[in-house]
Symmetry: C2
Subunit: 434 residues, 2 copies
C-alpha cells in the first residue's frame, strides 16, 4: 500500500495498549516530527468491553469492540496486536497478513509457535511483521540481531529473560526466604500472576529463547525444542550454600547455537558472582550474546511492564514508517540546527569527594566548614587519618552534600589560601546514578 | 546507483581493515547468503605501502596505494573508511559523498567534528553514511538509538566509552598502584598508545559522547561542547578511600540531555559499588541510556579492538546492502527450514551442585564417590555440615567436575537407592559462563 500515512489499528487496550495509545497521542511530536516524514495516526482501538471507562486522552469514536471495524478498514495499514494469548490473536494476525497490512506484535507465544510461518508469509506478501517487544520488552535485542550484529556467527546466548523468576530468586538470594514466601511477595507486588505456572516453570523464558534462537539460526524453532526446568524445587539453604561457594542462583535461558550441536535449555543454575549476569537484580532482564567477531555483548534493562514494552512497540511502528517512506537504515531525516541551551559545567551540581593535607590541630575543620558554609556547601561525612604524612600534617578526606561546581571551586581556592591547609590534593565528583 | 552488487573500496588496512577484509573474504557465506540477496564483494583496498607483505587471503591485484583507484572507480558503490585521523580521511569521505557513494566509517573524530554536515549532505545526495563502529566498537548503540529506542525521550547517558582509561582505573582500584605504573602497564599490553593524551585526557570519550548526544538531540554537537577532565591527577590513595566509602572511581562520559538544559561532560567520578557501571572491568565499555518510556538500558561489551570493530562495520555494510535491495527493517530474507542437529539435554555436560541428607557415619562419602566414579563423575569439592538436621543425619553438599547429564542422572538414581542416603534434596547445574 503506497501511502504517506500510517493509520494504526490497535488490538487490545490493557496496560501496554494504554501506554502505546498515550504515547501515540501525547508524544506524537517525537514520534512524528523527528525521524520520518510519514504521519503516524492512531485510527482505532479494539476493546473487550465497550462500556468500560477509558482514559481521557482516548476519544470514544476511536474505540470499538468489533474486530472487523479494524480488520476490514482499508485505511488501516498497520495492526498492533496486544491481545496476547493464542488463537484469537493468531486469527487476527493471519487476517492482517492476508490483507497485506503491516504488523507489530508483543506476542511471544505466537512468535514462538508460529513465527516461522508468519514471517515467511509476511515476506511473501511484501509486508513487515516486527516483534521487538516479544523478548525483553524494550531492551533492544531483536533489532540488533537483525542489524548491528547480523554479520556474526553467534554461538551462545545466556539470558535472564523472565523478570518474575529473577525477582523471586533475588529475594531468595540471602538464603533466608522460602520459595513459597518469595512467590507470595512477588504476587502481592504484581510481579507474578495469580497462576504463576508459565513463569516459574520456565515456559515464558522458553518462548523467548526459541524466538532468539530462530533468528540466530534463521530456522523454525519453537518452545518445544527447549529443555525446561522450573525454580520450584530450590530451597533457602541452597542459596546459602551457593553464596558460601561464591555463586548466585539464576534461571538462565541458554542457547548453544553451533548449527551442528544445538542445545536450548531453561533451568536454574549456579553462576559465579564475578559474572555480570549474577548482578542482575529484581525484575530486570539481561541478555548476553557471544559471537564471532563481536565477543561478548550484554543488554540489560527492564524486561517487562507497559513503559518498557511500549518503547519497543513504538520503535517498531517507526521502523515501518521509515520503511514506507523508504528512508531505511540510520538516516536522520530532518537534521536540525537549532540553538541548544547548554548548562555551563560550573553551574552543574554534585556531591564531591575531597582529600587535603592540613595542619593537625584543632580549628582546621571548623575553618574549612565555615568557608564551605559561606558557599552553601555542607559536609556529608569526614574521614581523618594521618596516613604516612610528615609531622603535624594530617590527611583529611570528606564528602560534601550536592553543591554547585562554581561555588565549590571558589570555596576551594579560599581553602587553599588558608595557612592551616597545606594543599588540596584531590577533588572528584560523586555521581549519583540512582 | 541501481545495482544488485555491493562493491567495496576499503580505505586503510590496519588491524581493523585486515579483520574486515578477512571477514568479507572468508566469512562471505554468513555475510552474503543469509540476510540479503545483494552480493557483497571486496573490490579494492587502499594501503600506504604497496610493497609491504599482506595476508595470504588478500590477492595482490586488489591492493593499491592510489586513492583514485578507488574513488574514481565507478563500479565501487560503498567506501569503508578506516584511515582514521582528520584531514585525509575527511577529503576522501567528502569525495565519496559528492560521487553519491555509500559510506561506512569508524572515524569518531570526523563524525564528532563534521558529522552534522556530512550526514546532511549524504541525505541530500540520497546515500547512507553509517558509523556504528565510531562509538563502543561493536556494541550496538547507534543502531538502537536510530531504531529500537527512537520513540524515547532520552534524558541521560552515563557511559564508560574509553577502554584505555577503564583499564588503568580498574588496575588502580585496589589502591596500591600509581597512575604512572598503571599507564605503563597498559602501554606494555598495547591497551594504551605511546602518546596516551587522547585517552587519558578524555578527548576520545568526548568525541564519542558528542556523537551520541548529536543523535539524541538531532543537532550539531561536537567535542568542543563537552567539558573534559582527565584521569592523570588521581592518586592511589583516592582509590583506597573511595573503596572504604563504598565507591569505585570511573571515567564517565555523561550527557544530561533535556534540550533546555544540556550538560555534556567527561570526568573521573566516584560511583556507588552497587551500580552496574562500577562492575565494568578492564578494557570493556558500557553505555547506559535513561529514557522515557524505556527506563534504564545498559549495553556492555568490548569497546575496541579489530574483532569487535569489524562486527559493527560489517553490520553497517549489510544494512546498506539491505537498503539497496529494499528489504529494510527486520525482515529475514531467506527463511530456511533445514534440519537442525539438537543435542539432547541429557547429553550436555556441566558441573553440578548437589545437596543430600545422609547417614552421619564413616563410609558414606566413599560410597557416593564410588557410584559417581562408576559414571566418570569426579567430585570437585565437598562441604559437609549438620545444618539443623535431626539426629544422625548429616547434610552433604558437593560440587562435581563437569559430567554428562545422563551419567549424572543414572548415578543419582543409584545413590538414592543406597540405605546410607536419606534423600537427594537438590541438584543444580553450574554454568561456567567464562
Amino acid at each position: 500500500m503506497e501511502t504517506e500515512n500510517i493509520n494504526i489499528g490497535l488490538l487490545g487496550l490493557g496496560t501496554v495498549g494504554t501506554e502505546v495509545a498515550y504515547q501515540l497521542i501525547h508524544n506524537n511530536n517525537i514520534i512524528n516530527n523527528q525521524k520520518s516524514k510519514v504521519q503516524i495516526n492512531l485510527s482505532k482501538v479494539l476493546v473487550n468491553d465497550i462500556n468500560k471507562k477509558r482514559p481521557d486522552f482516548l476519544p470514544t469514536d476511536k474505540i470499538t469492540d468489533n474486530p472487523n471495524d479494524i480488520l476490514n478498514d482499508n485505511n488501516i495499514n498497520l495492526i498492533v496486536e496486544l491481545i496476547g494469548g493464542d488463537q484469537i490473536a493468531l486469527d487476527m494476525i493471519n487476517q492482517a497478513v492476508d490483507k497485506k497490512v503491516n504488523i507489530v506484535t508483543a506476542n511471544k507465544l505466537i512468535m514462538s509457535k508460529y513465527g516461522h510461518e508468519l514471517l515467511t508469509r509476511a515476506k511473501n506478501n511484501g509486508i513487515l511483521l516486527l516483534y521487538e517487544a516479544s523478548v525483553g520488552a524494550g531492551i533492544p535485542i531483536i533489532g540488533p540481531l537483525y542489524h548491528s550484529l547480523t554479520a556474526n556467527h553467534i554461538n551462545r546466548i545466556n539470558a535472564i529473560i523472565n523478570g518474575t523468576t529473577n525477582y523471586i530468586l533475588s529475594n531468595m538470594s540471602t538464603g533466608t526466604q522460602t520459595f513459597e514466601n518469595a512467590l507470595k511477595q512477588a504476587q502481592n507486588l504484581g510481579y507474578a500472576e495469580s497462576d504463576p505456572t508459565s513463569d516459574i516453570e520456565g515456559i515464558d523464558a522458553a518462548y523467548k529463547l526459541s524466538i532468539l534462537a530462530s533468528i540466530v539460526l534463521n530456522n523454525r524453532i519453537t518452545e518445544e525444542d527447549v529443555y525446561r526446568e522450573g525454580i520450584t524445587k530450590l530451597s533457602a539453604v541452597d542459596f546459602k550454600y551457593a553464596k558460601d561457594l561464591g555463586y548466585t542462583i539464576k534461571l538462565l535461558a541458554i542457547g548453544e547455537l553451533d548449527p551442528e550441536n544445538v542445545s536450548l535449555r531453561v533451568h536454574p543454575c549456579l553462576i559465579s558472582n564475578d559474572h555480570l549476569l549474577a548482578k542482575v537484580e529484581g525484575v530486570y532482564n539481561a541478555i548476553e550474546i557471544q559471537g564471532n567477531p563481536i565477543g561478548n555483548i550484554i543488554f540489560h534493562g527492564e524486561g517487562a511492564g507497559p513503559k518498557s514494552t511500549s518503547s519497543a512497540i513504538l520503535g517498531d511502528i517507526i521502523s515501518i514508517a521509515n520503511n514506507i517512506s523508504n528512508k531505511g537504515a540510520n538516516s536522520p531525516v530532518n537534521i536540525t540546527d537549532t540553538t541548544i541551551r547548554y548548562i555551563d559545567y560550573i553551574h552543574t551540581s554534585s556531591s564531591y569527594y575531597m582529600r587535603m593535607s592540613v595542619q593537625d590541630k584543632p580549628g582546621v575543620l571548623a575553618e574549612i566548614s565555615s568557608i564551605l558554609g559561606k558557599y552553601n556547601i555542607s559536609i556529608a561525612s569526614v574521614l581523618q587519618t594521618t596516613h604516612n604524612q610528615p609531622d603535624n600534617i594530617a590527611e583529611l578526606v570528606m564528602i560534601t552534600h550536592p553543591a554547585v561546581v562554581n561555588n565549590l571551586n571558589t570555596a576551594i581556592s579560599q581553602i587553599e589560601k588558608s595557612n592551616q591547609i597545606k594543599s588540596v590534593d584531590s577533588l572528584v565528583r560523586i555521581e549519583d546514578l540512582n
